[in-house]
């Protein structure tokens, strides 16, 4: 890092007539005696900077003079009057030359020191909009005459999110993880949701962090029963994971409660590393029947068909009657009608889809007063021998609303 220094004397020494002092600083950090530092400082990083103070003094005493500075100050803005952000209490001492043959001949001096710029100081300077930091010292040589000089240390923007290790003199902590950003959202990438009763919804916390170690948090939910007053948050799952991989992690909540209609709140309370915030809170609403979710309908109970091998026009399908059903439709599909085939067995416990983009290959519609139907010749005629089909029953009311559907089941035609 190239040296950056300024030599500008802020306070001119005052020479008091009749002073008993035999030494005087006549130049500090100016002209040929430019002061220097070896580097700039990255914001938010504890950095040690080597500084060289250079100047000239007249030493009248045969025993030489003693240059003294009690403390240094970190300032931003005007080096003389600007805001002080911190200080360095370590004093500087230096003995300077002996009397020269010709009295009042100036003696050059250089004082080196290593200054630690605390991370807090550079961070506060950057927060105030400063791009450089002044380190100011007041020097004297025994008498009342003092001279103030400063050096300017450039600030460099720190690399956002770059891992800052723990300092050797730092006290051990329960975890080495430091959180940078925590975003809470639902698994549909939204921050509010309306879902149906018993519909599956999860929350996600997308976390950006530094370091490595333990994160300790708890997912909590406030239910509609308490939401009208002061909400009671109830823990539904604890999170105790070790982070340290890729500085990004997504924590997923368990399936959020949705049994009762009403408003729910969900939050992630982070205990370690301690995080004091009430912003990590989302709300969702559970309704008996949302417009968006009308595509999901209850599952109907079907009895097994009377005979499947061989399947013929007399094969009978039977079901539990559905209240308010106006018609029933038995549907046959020659391919899985709902995108990719689910893994494993078909899900017969979740609500069923009211309709599919794909139309049935064939089917049968019967009156809502019936609880069974024979296939009939028209349907059997359309079922291809050797073909594989998926079938289900759908109940429809007088308004055309799908009241329920049985799970899709497979059927092979011999």
């Amino acid at each position: 890092m190239k040296i950056v220094s300024m030599a500008w004397i802020l306070a001119v020494a005052t020479w008091l007539a009749g002073s008993s002092a035999h030494a005087q600083i006549i130049s500090l950090c100016e002209g040929m005696n430019a002061c220097s530092s070896n580097r700039g400082v990255a914001v938010g990083i504890d950095t040690r900077v080597m500084l060289s103070w250079r100047g000239e003094a007249i030493v009248a005493s045969p025993t030489g003079g003693r240059l003294v500075s009690d403390q240094g100050l970190f300032r931003i803005g005007d080096p003389r009057k600007g805001e002080t952000l911190g200080s360095v209490k370590s004093p500087l001492f230096q003995s300077i030359g002996t009397q020269r043959e010709r009295e009042k001949e100036a003696v050059r001096f250089t004082v080196n020191e290593t200054v630690r710029v605390p991370s807090e100081v550079s961070r506060r300077a950057a927060d105030a909009g400063a791009t450089e930091l002044h380190f100011v010292r007041q020097f004297s040589m025994g008498g009342d005459a003092t001279m103030i000089a400063f050096q300017t240390i450039p600030l460099q923007p720190s690399v956002p999110g770059r891992d800052i290790a723990a300092m050797i003199d730092e006290e051990p902590r329960s975890t080495g993880v430091r959180l940078e950003r925590v975003s809470l959202l639902f698994d549909r990438a939204s921050v509010t949701e309306t879902i149906d009763v018993a519909e599956t919804l999860r929350a996600e916390a997308r976390i950006r962090y530094q370091g490595a170690g333990l994160i300790n948090a708890v997912w909590e939910v406030a239910m509609p029963a308490s939401i009208q007053g002061d909400p009671f948050f109830v823990p539904i799952a604890r999170v105790r994971d070790y982070l340290g991989g890729t500085r990004e992690v997504t924590l997923e909540s368990p399936v959020l409660p949705s049994r009762e209609a009403g408003i729910y709140r969900v939050r992630l309370r982070v205990l370690e590393p301690s995080l004091v915030t009430d912003e990590l809170l989302l709300s969702y609403r559970v309704t008996e029947e949302s417009v968006q979710q009308r595509q999901r309908v209850p599952t109907l109970d079907m009895a097994p068909p009377s005979q499947l091998r061989p399947i013929d026009e007399n094969t009978e399908f039977r079901w539990q009657p559905v209240r308010d059903a106006d018609v029933y439709r038995l549907e046959f599909y020659d391919q899985w009608p709902d995108g990719e085939l689910p893994e494993g067995r078909f899900n017969d416990t979740m609500p069923q889809q009211a309709g599919f983009a794909l139309s049935p290959s064939t089917g049968l519609m019967v009156d809502g007063g019936q609880s069974s139907a024979r296939l009939g010749r028209a349907v059997v005629h359309r079922l291809r021998p050797g073909g594989s089909y998926y079938w289900r029953l759908v109940a429809i009311d007088g308004e055309g609303r799908v009241l329920g559907a049985s799970p899709l089941q497979s059927l092979a035609i011999p």
Partner: protein, 643 residues
């Protein structure tokens, strides 16, 4: 069927007239099919003709009607077939409107430790969805409007708000959308979250391409006062995207795209906590170019992305100037037998390399962390009931070798082995009693070591290892599952304590008859400080049940949640607390809601929370609330169902 008809309306009846001479007996051998579905049972047959009234509105579009006849030899004869166009009117192909409105009134009957909140609350909520289609345009809209007399009761924090809305007009070549939507695909410069704003896409014949322009709010949640979310120039992101795709040969496809975003951000998102956040305005712009290739019927997929950004990290007109940086990623996936092909074994291999500069930051993807360069390999194998997923990642940081910072390398791998049985267990076997099983075993390992450590700092030298086994069993009347796992952290520098976490959990859901359900759960998390053997135990017990006392009319539910945080021995933060939450609800479904007929529900709810600090023996704190809620719901639907 009249030949001069150009279209039919969705609920219009269909009539066919027979030529004279059809015998009554012949009608028993005739069938009417609509879109290949036999609707004969719902058809009125007479020797002069037939009449079919669709029980629900037919969907817009072309429908096939066929009249067939089976002779004595079971031979099929087609008497006639017709194609019908169904539409709403001459000008409109379809119009639909769907809504659900709800008003809820709550009255507090009792509350202990009354917080001073009002004893009566009113909330209203209305959700609308509509669509209108002509031969050239399709308009689609959706909106949610919410009102709460107290801000604390709302889901967005405002008394009157639109938690979401969107409106879209689309033709063959143009799409314009306003409101909440996903503005772009997930990439290095876009996070793919839902945002509020305006977007427009134009399809061009040139190079089979499209151009999108969008402007969106910098916030993920915008209230009703924010309108489209674009009024604040300090919180607006503008962008453009160009896409082009072509097929160089059978089974191959290549897509090129480029995105540029620019704008300003002034606040943290809703639901987001940010360390060191200030009320500053950050300027930024970013662009990317991607190429996506899919070859040999998706057996080989290749993706490359290059991105650059300029971001003013410390705020607009403040301190430092904006800083530029770049990022790239490349991935390759080999899937020789893509999904859908019936093969005994499916496998997939892939690798992704990415480098993200330390100062790379896009306004539209602020969650992405920078200063990383790594490569990841992954594999997946599936055979019948077995699945295996594995991945390995190696990553390093401090890409510019800044001597003030450590240079750290992270290596991690994980493997998951799964077994899911889809066959019904044999009668008399153990599994018949336990249920249809699924098992998952997960192993993971992470190591993080410094290649360089600046003087005065602890080196990074840490590793964690874990194993987890979960099993779930499905039975006809419910399910149950159990899981256990252990993970161990070792910090070789000794700066942070070496710990070990264990978890054990069990849960079950049981259907008792058709109208009663019981849920049980238990979760234990233990952390052990390995040096001093101090243990922290955290447990959650849950019991929940609901019962339909009068099916469809009267139901009751009860929930208990007991949580214990026994961290008395924690050397860093000693705690010992118990909490017990109880809630119950009696729900009377007075009248079912139907289109144009409001439903009515009345419920009485009770909740009680007890907190006890066992470490300091503070007085146990009890709170409870009792509320009565009346809710009316009105669904509307035009024109009704469709098929």
């Amino acid at each position: 069927m009249p030949e001069d008809r150009t279209f039919f309306q969705p609920r219009e009846g269909l009539q066919l007239a027979f030529s004279p001479g059809v015998a009554e007996a012949e009608l028993n051998h005739m069938y009417l099919e609509l879109n290949a579905v036999d609707v004969s049972d719902l058809t009125r047959w007479t020797p002069r003709g037939l009449q079919y009234q669709p029980p629900h509105g037919l969907t817009p579009g072309v429908h096939d009607l066929r009249l067939i006849y089976f002779d004595e030899n079971d031979q099929l004869h087609e008497i006639g077939s017709w194609s019908l166009e169904v539409r709403h009117s001459e000008a409109l192909l379809s119009v639909t409107l769907d809504s659900q409105s709800e008003v809820t009134a709550n009255a507090r009957l009792n509350e202990r430790n009354d917080s001073g909140s009002r004893g009566r609350n009113v909330q209203a909520y209305s959700e609308w969805s509509g669509a209108m289609e002509t031969d050239r345009w399709r308009l689609q809209s959706q909106a949610e409007i919410a009102y709460a007399n107290r801000r604390q009761q709302s889901i967005t924090g405002n008394r009157l708000d639109m938690p979401s809305f969107s409106m879209q007009a689309r033709s063959d070549w143009l799409r314009v959308a306003v409101g909440d939507q996903r503005m772009g695909q997930s990439s290095l410069v876009m996070n793919g979250y839902q945002q509020r704003g305006v977007a427009s896409d134009v399809q061009l014949d040139t190079l089979n391409s499209s151009i999108s322009l969008f402007s969106m709010s910098g916030q993920r949640a915008a209230g009703v006062d924010d309108g489209l979310g674009l009024s604040d120039s300090n919180d607006r992101i503008n962008g453009a995207r160009w896409d082009s795709s072509w097929q160089p040969g059978q089974g191959h496809a290549i897509q090129l795209s480029a995105t540029r975003v620019t704008g300003r951000i002034s606040q943290a998102d809703a639901g987001t906590w940010n360390s060191g956040s200030f009320t500053r305005v950050n300027d930024g712009e970013a662009w990317n170019a991607t190429v996506d290739g899919s070859f040999f019927d998706r057996a080989l997929q290749v993706r490359g992305e290059r991105a650059a950004s300029e971001y003013d990290f410390d705020g607009h007109d403040f301190g430092f100037a904006p800083i530029s940086d770049d990022a790239w990623s490349g991935s390759l996936v080999l899937d020789p037998l893509p999904m859908g092909q019936d093969t005994p074994i499916n496998w997939q291999l892939g690798a992704e390399a990415r480098k993200i500069g330390g100062y790379f930051r896009s306004l539209a993807n602020r969650q992405l962390s920078g200063d990383r360069h790594g490569i990841e390999f992954f594999a997946a194998v599936q055979r019948d009931k077995w699945t295996l997923d594995a991945d390995f990642l190696k990553e390093r940081n401090n890409l510019d070798h800044d001597p003030d910072y450590a240079r750290t390398e992270t290596r991690q791998w994980s493997m998951q082995l799964g077994y899911s049985d889809y066959e019904v267990p044999d009668a008399g076997s153990l599994l018949e009693w336990l249920g249809q099983p699924s098992y998952t075993l997960t192993l993971d390992d992470m190591q993080r070591r410094d290649q360089y450590t600046p003087i005065g700092y602890w080196p990074n030298d840490l590793e964690s290892r874990g194993a987890r086994l979960e099993a779930s069993f499905a039975r006809e009347l419910g399910y149950w599952s159990a899981g256990l796992g252990q993970e161990r952290l070792t910090d070789n520098t000794g700066w942070q304590p070496d710990t070990e976490t264990r978890f054990l959990q069990w849960q079950a859901g049981i259907d008792i008859g058709d109208h009663h359900q019981l849920n049980l759960g238990w979760q234990l998390d233990q952390t052990r400080y390995r040096a001093g053997n101090e243990r922290v135990n955290q447990q959650i017990y849950t019991v929940g049940g609901n019962s339909q006392l009068i099916p469809g009319r009267l139901s009751v539910s009860l929930d208990l949640n007991f949580s214990r945080n026994d961290a008395e021995e924690d050397p860093f933060f000693a705690q010992y607390q118990d909490s017990l939450y109880t809630s119950g609800q009696l729900h009377w479904h007075i009248r079912e809601a139907r289109p144009r007929r409001p439903g009515l529900d009345l419920s009485l709810s009770f909740s009680r929370n007890t907190l006890r600090d066992r470490l300091y023996n503070d007085p146990t704190q009890h709170d409870h609330q009792v509320w009565l809620e009346l809710r009316t719901t009105l669904p509307t639907r035009y024109p009704g169902g469709g098929s």
